[in-house]
Symmetry: C2
Subunit: 335 residues, 2 copies
C-alpha cells in the first residue's frame, strides 16, 4: 500500500460516511487524496475535510480510477454492485454493509481481535455489524482467557444505526409531542419516540431477525470460534447514537469478577466503568462520540455455572462503523 493512499468514501453524505471523514481527520490518516462519492441526489454537495471543501461526486463505474482504499457505507445493494468494480480498478474495499461479511473469501475484521485476518483479503475486507463489534470488544478478551460457550444478549440500539433519516424522525417526533402536534412517521413501522421496538432489520422464518443472528454468525467468524452460540434480542430505543448491550455469557473455564475486571482493564479499545456505589456504569449518552467502547455492571451470573453478566456500550457510528473501517485502513497501510 502507498504511504499516502488515495481514499474514496462511498456513501459520504450518510450518517456513517460523515463519521468516516471526521475519523480520518481526527486520526490524521495520511490520505494523499480524498474522493467523496454518493448517489446522484447527493452529488454536488460539498463536505469539509480538514480545510479543504470537497465536492461530492456521483458514484459511477468510473469512480475508482487511481483509488487505493475505498470505504463503502451506502448499503448492501451498492456494495454488491460497486465493490468488485472498485477492486478491479485496483482499490482495496473496506465494506461496512452486510453484503460480504459471511463470504469465506472476505476477512471480517475487528482490528483489536483479528487484525491478522486482513492479510488474507482478495480485495474486500468486511466491517462487522455494529452491535456485534461493540459486544465483542468486551467479550473477546474474556473469551481469550476463559473460552466463551454461549451468550444471551439483549440490545438497546440507537436510531443512528438506521441512518440519518431515522435520527431526523426521532427529532421530529419528539418535537411534535412537545408541541402537542400529531406524530408522523416514515422510517420505522411504529413511533420510536418514548417507545421500544423489538425489531431491528428483517425477520427470518425462525422468528429471529437478521440483526439478531449476526452476533452468532459474525461472532463465530471474527473470534475463529465455530461453536459459539448467541441468543439475541435486538431492540431499537429512542437514543441518538450509541448502542448498549446486556450480556449473560457462559464460559468453559471458571471465571471470577475480579479476573474479568483485570482482563478488561488491560484490553484495547474498551474502558471499564464499573463503580456502582458512585453510580458509575456505561451509558449510551456518555459513549456518544467516543472511540472506545465501555463495559460495566460486571457480576457473577446467578443462573449460569461459569457465567458473567456485563453491560457494554459503544458509539454505533464509530466502533460500530466508521472507526473500525478506518482502523482496518490503518492496518492496510502497515502491510
Amino acid at each position: 500500500m502507498k504511504k499516502k493512499p488515495h481514499v474514496a468514501i462511498v456513501g459520504a453524505t450518510g450518517a456513517v460516511g460523515v463519521e468516516m471523514i471526521r475519523t480520518l481527520e481526527r486520526r490524521n490518516f495520511p490520505a494523499g487524496k480524498i474522493t467523496l462519492l454518493a448517489s446522484a441526489r447527493s452529488a454536488g454537495k460539498t463536505l469539509k475535510y480538514h480545510d479543504e471543501e470537497i465536492t461530492v461526486a456521483e458514484l459511477t463505474d468510473q469512480s475508482f480510477k487511481n483509488v487505493d482504499i475505498a470505504l463503502f457505507s451506502a448499503g448492501g445493494d451498492i456494495s454488491r454492485a460497486f465493490a468488485s468494480i472498485a477492486v478491479e480498478a485496483g482499490a482495496v474495499v473496506v465494506d461496512n454493509s452486510s453484503a460480504f461479511r459471511m463470504d469465506p473469501d472476505v476477512p471480517l475484521v475487528v482490528p483489536e481481535i483479528n487484525a491478522a485476518d486482513i492479510a488474507g483479503h482478495h480485495g474486500i475486507i468486511a466491517n462487522p455489524n455494529c452491535t456485534t463489534a461493540i459486544t465483542l470488544m468486551a467479550l473477546y478478551p474474556l473469551h481469550a482467557a476463559f473460552t466463551v460457550t454461549r451468550i444471551f444478549a439483549s440490545t438497546y440500539q440507537a436510531v443512528s444505526g438506521t441512518g440519518a433519516n431515522a435520527i431526523k424522525e426521532l427529532e421530529q417526533q419528539v418535537s411534535q409531542i412537545v408541541k402537542r402536534k400529531k406524530v408522523t412517521r416514515s422510517v420505522y413501522p411504529h413511533q420510536i419516540a418514548f417507545n421500544a421496538l423489538p425489531h431491528v432489520d428483517q425477520f427470518l422464518n425462525s422468528g429471529y431477525t437478521k440483526e439478531e443472528m449476526k452476533m452468532e454468525n459474525e461472532g463465530r467468524k471474527i473470534m475463529h470460534h465455530p461453536g459459539f452460540q448467541a441468543s439475541v434480542t435486538c431492540v431499537r430505543i429512542p437514543v441518538y447514537r450509541a448502542h448498549s448491550v446486556s450480556v449473560s455469557a457462559e464460559f468453559e473455564k471458571p471465571i471470577t469478577v475480579d479476573e474479568a475486571r483485570r482482563i478488561l482493564e488491560a484490553a484495547p479499545g474498551i474502558d471499564l466503568i464499573d463503580n456502582p456505589d458512585s453510580n458509575e456504569y456505561p451509558t449510551p449518552l456518555d459513549q456518544a462520540e467516543k472511540d472506545n467502547c465501555a463495559v460495566g455492571r460486571l457480576r457473577k451470573d446467578c443462573a449460569l455455572q461459569n457465567g458473567l453478566c456485563f453491560w457494554v456500550a459503544g458509539d454505533q457510528l464509530l466502533k460500530g462503523a466508521a472507526l473500525n473501517a478506518v482502523q482496518i485502513a490503518e492496518a492496510l497501510l502497515k502491510m
Copy 2:
C-alpha cells in the same frame, strides 16, 4: 368481607395511587366509601372518584377506622410504619411496596397465577414488583405446561416506575433539549432523556440491583417454584409508562413455538401479538393504559436445549401495580 367495603388508598396522589382510583372506577368496584390518604404535603388536594370530589386526608395512626381494605402505595417506609396499624384497625392491607413481599406470613399474589394464596393472609397481602408481575404473566402459563428452570432477562423500564417526579423529569429534559437549554436532573443520577441507565433500585454487594433479584425471589414465591433461577439486567429507558422485558427461558420439557403460542393465546390477562411479517409485536407505547399485558417475538431459543425467547410488555402502573392490587381486592370480596 362486606359487600360494599370501605376502601382507603394510601399514597393517593402518587402515580400508582391515581391509577388505583381510576382502576376502581373503571372496574366498577363496589366500594361503600373511598378514603384518600397521603402525606401532610398532599393533604387538602381533591381528587375525583366517579362524580364525587374527595379531599385527600393526611395519613395518621387514626386513618383506618372502619376501613375494610387499605391499598398501600406510598413506599416501603410508609408500609412498614402503617400497615400493621391498618390491620389492627380491622383492615386487610394490599401493599404495593417491597416491604412484606418476602415475609413468609404474607401472600405475594398475581391473581391469574396464585389467587388461592390470598386465603392464607394474616391481614397483609403483597403486590409483586412490576417487572416480575409483567414477566410472569407470560412465563407462568408456559411454566405450568413445560416447567421453567431458568430465565435470562433484560428489562426496558418506563420512568413511571420511579414515580410522578420521574415522569416530570423526562418531560422537562426533553423540553430542555428541544429548546436547546441546559439539561437539569434531580431524580436519576444521569440524564434519562435519549439515554439508557442500567440501574433500577439499589445495588447489592453481588453487583446485581435489588430490582434484578426480585424476579428470582418473587418469581419463586408466586410460582411456588423454589428452584427457579433468573439472571436479570434492569434498565431504565426514556419511555413513559409501560415496561418491556426480553426473555430467554429454559424449560425441563421440550417446548415448541406452536405449543407456546396456543397456551399464551388461552392464558388470562395477556394478549398474544406476534405477526412479525406485518410488523406486529408488543410495544410499550401500545400497552400503555391497557389492563392486559402482551407477549410476542416468540421463537425457539437458539442457545438453549428446551428454550423459548419472547418479549413481553405491560403497563407498569396497571398490571405492574394498581390493577393487580384491585384484582386482589376483588378476590377478597369473593371470599
